[in-house]
Amino acid sequence: MSERYTDKEMMALAAGRLVKDGDVLFAGTGLSMLAATVARRVHAPRAVVFFETGGIDPSLEELPLAVADPRVMVGTAMNSGLIDAFSLLAHRRLNTIAFLGAAQIDPYGNINSTCLGDYHHPKVRFPGCGGACDAASLAAGVILFMQHDRRRFVEKVDYVSSVGWLTGGDSRRRAGLKRGGPIAVVTNLGVLRFDDESKRMYLAEHYPGVTPQEVAEHTGFALDIGRGQEAAPPSQRELDTLRQEVDPDRLILGPPPA
């Protein structure tokens, strides 16, 4: 257990642990591909991955670098398009879990992937909400990936691209969203969850070697760290699966541990 590992490895594995067997995973690329794939190989063999582009349950012999990568069209149960993919995302009989990332996040898990500054005169323009807005609205649950720093964890995001728990409490339901909402935020420091009642973010797990105080310091809003537990380090099986089977070329994992 003393093997070294990188932040990205820990993030992929921490997110993978949140997947339940039978979940239907709406994956982006990058870390979400790793999390979904490692989960299927380690503990959730009946979890299924699909992409908003219409690739449903691909074999993923090689890692796709975009959701429209030809690698998401191979060995699938079916190839279709966006209309079908969003039909699955919203399906009442499926426990669809979406992995999303963003530039900014607020204490209720609302995220911004559109712009910094004023929408009409942005300082920085990002790609836009893409399918994240749809996943955040319609999936049965959302798992968020974030780099943990104060400029990204902010009291109020500049633009709500994709809703989380809105203003907390039952505000999400009152806005008309019947299910879903963020389950957890997986960062390079730990795993944050949302209070059952208030729906405000709190620290659930800090990674080995990270203190709760460090997490609070890297968060741009007041964060409840009282419930934080130390996360289990990666198991050998998890690391081996991730490194040898899922991303052997380290296309997404990047450099190995120093």
Binding site: T29, A68, I83, H120, P122, G128, V160
Partner: protein, 325 residues
């Protein structure tokens, strides 16, 4: 009869197709998705012809969008996402144009754009959905409110109203249909009767084509219609929805055309570098668009080495083991 002759007037050079069917100010939809099946050859032709003031409508677009925006052909853009995944998490010239205020942008989600094109394809005036409730995608408008209801701009970006079939409070989003003047697609196969077959994921191409007043399809191969009609379950569009067919091998390069070629990581990295500065981007445009009117010259400049590197395995659909770093 030579293959292609059956197409008659529909078989056009890129110059003819764009010249006849794309006009300044048109509402244009682009098929494909980020790094796959972007209609690159058609887009380069639009740039060469100096077509201006386009109003683009896309879901998630990458390379074709960025090139058109960078070349100054676009005034307005309705989109969900602009990027090419790891190669450009935000499309570079798009980002610059928005930050410099050169582009009017209206943001929607991918499902929004899907349903808007579907409404256009079905001849329906709008489509309900639930995505985006409570978000700034619905709360904020990009287009000047004074322009609403004029030209291609619907009178409302979206309307949130009560579901009339529910007795409880149940807000729904109503989204206006999109009916492009022209949709540009790149497909693998077109039959010499005009039947289109797209292999792999179809994204929104079929809805975008059916919603449009005019459709230009570029393709890797023109094949005998009898081949496509022997297995019509696999076909994508009937001939009478296609106005122009452009024979365009590698017409989606540097994006992928599944079963023919992969995306080109070296070209996309080159583009990423050159797109960073106005000057280098100008150089890219000159080198790869303006000075290269023919696809043969374009491919010669890509070079046989990269052409072979990205050649797809015809069973897998991509280039296995391609160095994508």
């Amino acid at each position: 009869m030579k293959v292609g002759e059956g197409l008659g007037d529909k078989l056009m050079s890129p110059g003819e197709a764009v010249g006849r069917l794309v006009k300044d100010g048109d509402l244009v939809a682009l098929g494909g998705f980020t790094v796959s099946r972007n209609p690159m050859l058609l887009v380069r032709e639009i740039i060469r012809q100096g077509i201006k003031d386009l109003h683009l409508a896309v879901h998630s677009q990458g390379q074709a969008l960025d090139l058109l925006v960078g070349a100054g052909c676009v005034s307005r853009l309705e989109l969900a996402y602009a990027g090419t995944g790891r190669f450009a998490p935000t499309a570079i010239r798009f980002r610059r144009a928005v930050e410099q205020g050169q582009l009017q942008v209206e943001d929607y989600s991918n499902q929004h754009m899907s349903l808007r094109f579907l409404a256009g394809a079905l001849g329906l005036p709008f489509m309900p959905c639930r995505s985006g409730l409570g978000s700034d995608v619905l709360n904020k408008q990009g287009f000047d409110p004074g322009l609403r209801g004029q030209g291609h701009i619907p009178p409302h970006k979206a309307i949130v109203s009560q579901n009339p079939f529910s007795r409880e409070e149940d807000p729904v989003v109503l989204l206006p249909a999109l009916t492009p003047d022209v949709t540009l697609l790149h497909a693998q196969y077109v039959g010499d009767d005009g039947t289109v077959r797209i292999k792999g994921l179809t994204f929104l191409d079929l809805e975008q084509a059916r919603a449009a007043s005019r459709v230009i399809v570029s393709c890797e191969e023109i094949v005998p219609a009898a081949h496509l009609r022997a297995d019509p379950d696999q076909n994508s569009l009937p001939p009478f929805l296609v106005d122009a067919v452009v024979h365009a091998p590698y017409g989606a390069h540097p994006t992928a055309c599944p079963y023919f070629y992969d995306y080109d990581p070296r070209h996309l990295s080159l583009y990423r570098q050159q797109a960073q500065s106005d000057q280098a981007f100008g150089e890219y445009l000159r080198q790869w668009v303006m000075d290269l009117p023919g696809q043969e010259a374009y491919l010669a400049q890509v070079g046989i080495e990269d052409i072979m590197r990205i050649k797809a395995n015809s069973v897998l659909g991509y280039a296995p083991g391609l160095d994508r770093r």
